[in-house]
């Protein structure tokens, strides 16, 4: 009821065995399968080779220090909640959590609900107040609800979070890939691959000539190096999202300048 059906479909209804078994099935099935095939390339568990080096530090393996009981279902869920809150950029009044796959089946046992809520409240993964997240949320005036979804996601640990306050709202899908590491895989209908471990800019813009160049030119003039960049669009000439991870933090003035460029709708700055 809170998330458009379409979004839940895109975020999750991508059954890998379906691609294998029914790849050329009827029109509805193959549309979903095509979506699935595209998602499979985004899914880190299926990405091998160079792009598949998903763990980059020894402290991804020996760590994180965290509140139990599960690195993927508790610590990872805290992290996804935190990132959703950071992307929203303000305190939400309402939060809806849609669990898929293993998250939907086992969230009570792993306290995934408590953890993802704690993340939305801004708590860190090793904060001893995590078990009290329900109480803390109610005390802060946040209304929240959890929904178990039947759709089978590409990655078993998937949650879609919708945060809202007054006029603003954001829908964020995250996956927890193991050992506490996560990726944001979709924001407001756009595919992306964001770990939140480097400073990043999410820039919603019109798919038009010069939009991307205007942003990269500003970053270059401020001596900010781009470490990773991707662009995702709804349709040619329509809305698009560029995600830029940078080596250096981006200051507010640069964000204001980017925001003032033609074709730019909204800029979200994600700090580490």
């Amino acid at each position: 009821m809170c998330i458009p059906c379409d979004d839940i479909y895109h975020a999750s209804l991508t059954v890998l065995p379906l691609i294998k078994n029914h790849g050329s099935a009827g029109s509805a099935g193959s549309a979903i399968s095509r979506e699935g095939a595209r998602y499979a390339t985004l899914c880190p568990e299926n990405a091998k080779g160079e792009a598949g080096m998903k763990y980059r530090s020894v402290f991804d393996i020996i760590g994180p220090v965290m509140i139990g009981p599960s690195s993927s279902h508790t610590a990872g869920a805290v992290r996804i909640g935190q990132l959703a809150r950071k992307l929203f950029g303000q305190a939400p009044e309402k939060a809806d959590f849609h669990f898929f796959g293993s998250f939907a089946r086992t969230y009570r046992g792993h306290a995934t609900d408590v953890a993802v809520l704690a993340g939305v409240l801004g708590l860190q993964a090793d904060d001893p107040r995590i078990p009290e997240a329900y109480r803390l949320a109610r005390a802060s005036g946040l209304t929240f609800a959890f929904h178990e979804e039947a759709a089978i996601p590409v990655h078993p640990n998937t949650v879609t979070i919708r945060l809202a306050a007054a006029e603003a709202a954001i829908t964020v899908t995250g996956i927890s890939i193991g050992g506490g590491l996560v990726q944001i895989s979709r924001v407001d209908g756009f595919d992306l691959r964001l770990t939140g471990e480097a400073p990043a800019l999410l820039i919603f813009h019109r798919d038009a000539y010069g939009a991307i160049a205007s942003v990269t030119r500003l970053l270059a003039s401020a001596k900010i190096n781009i470490s990773h960049m991707e662009v995702s669009r709804a349709r040619r000439g329509q809305d698009a999202l560029m995600v830029i991870e940078t080596d250096q933090p981006v200051n507010e003035e640069i964000v204001r300048l980017i925001q003032s460029q033609p074709h730019i709708f909204k800029t979200i700055k994600l700090e580490v």
Binding site: F59, V65, G68, P69, S70, G101, R108, P156, G180
Partner: protein, 293 residues
């Protein structure tokens, strides 16, 4: 940087250095941090591990009330002096169980590589430390060695039960602990790799089938089993026993098995032990009033 166990071992052997050295150098290059910063970070994680083991040995109950107190039982048994095996072995079991009991109580732990498998590595290392009277600095090195092994497993296969079953959690942890114990005991990088391969092979195919989806049954005792298996593999590798299947091929097998494992056995509380009458009874009890499928 290294992408395989083979590369890791050849880099260490060429440098005439242990695996931990290769991991530290690689991390310094990747992160831009100094060796001292990295060592301090790892020493802080070691302190978290020690504190968790200590807390668990005193006896804790899980958040659900289903488990707890077994680490304390094991220590009391050890202190009676009638254990069948040596103190190192029983202490490893006790510390592994203690750490995982703290995890189930929503206490603070260090995931190694995951929270569900957080008891294996500290269980083995704390017990071996006592046996060898090794300083904490040596344990910090052993943790870097374990991290290097886990890094290769995580990047070439998977380390989450939901993606690859318990073999990817306790299995990976046991392989990491086996290699770390060998380095701590003065074994060569090649022996570390052999210990890793032997430990991993023994746990291939292990399902992730926790009761009611809680990281308690069978996870806590699996951590003890993972520690025991790591010690067995370390002893074999130190004795010169070699794995017939090379380490990187074992990791490929882990990945292939993980991909073909049915969803019911990958942390969904639907198959294996979770599906037994007792497992379902617990699910009903703990998920009372909710849809239990």
């Amino acid at each position: 940087m290294f992408k395989s166990i083979d590369e890791l071992v050849s880099q260490a052997t060429q440098a005439g250095a242990p695996i931990s050295r290769v991991m530290i150098d690689s991390e310094m290059e990747q992160s831009g941090k100094t060796e001292r910063q990295l060592r301090e970070g790892m020493a802080a994680s070691l302190e978290v591990m020690k504190a968790a083991a200590r807390k668990g040995l005193q006896g804790v109950a899980s958040h659900s009330g289903m488990t707890g107190g077994d680490a304390r039982r094991l220590m009391a048994y050890l202190e009676k002096g009638q254990a069948l095996t040596c103190g190192t072995f029983v202490r490893a079991l006790a510390c592994a169980v203690a750490t995982n009991e703290v995890n189930a109580s929503m206490g603070v732990i260090c995931a190694t590589p995951t929270a569900g498998s957080c008891g294996v590595l500290p269980g083995v290392l704390l017990a071996v430390q006592e046996k060898l009277r090794a300083p904490d600095e040596a344990l910090v090195d052993a943790l870097f060695c374990a991290g290097a092994i886990g890094y290769v497993i995580a990047n070439n296969a998977m380390i989450s039960g939901a993606a690859g079953g318990c073999q990817a959690e306790v299995g990976a942890a046991s392989a990491m602990a086996a290699a770390a114990a060998v380095e701590l005991a003065g074994g060569s990088p090649e022996q570390c790799a052999q210990a890793m391969a032997i430990a991993m092979k023994n746990l291939l195919g292990l399902a992730c089938d926790p009761l009611a989806g809680l990281v308690e049954v069978p996870c806590i005792k699996r951590n003890a089993a993972g520690a025991a298996n790591a010690l067995a593999a370390a002893e074999m590798a130190l004795a010169g026993v070699r794995s017939h299947i090379p380490p990187d091929e074992v990791i490929s097998a882990l990945y292939a098995i993980g991909l073909s494992m049915p969803l019911a056995l990958r942390e969904t509380a639907q198959g294996g032990l979770a599906a037994t009458p007792t497992g379902q009874r617990w699910k009903k009890l703990l998920w009372q009033g909710r849809d239990t499928d």
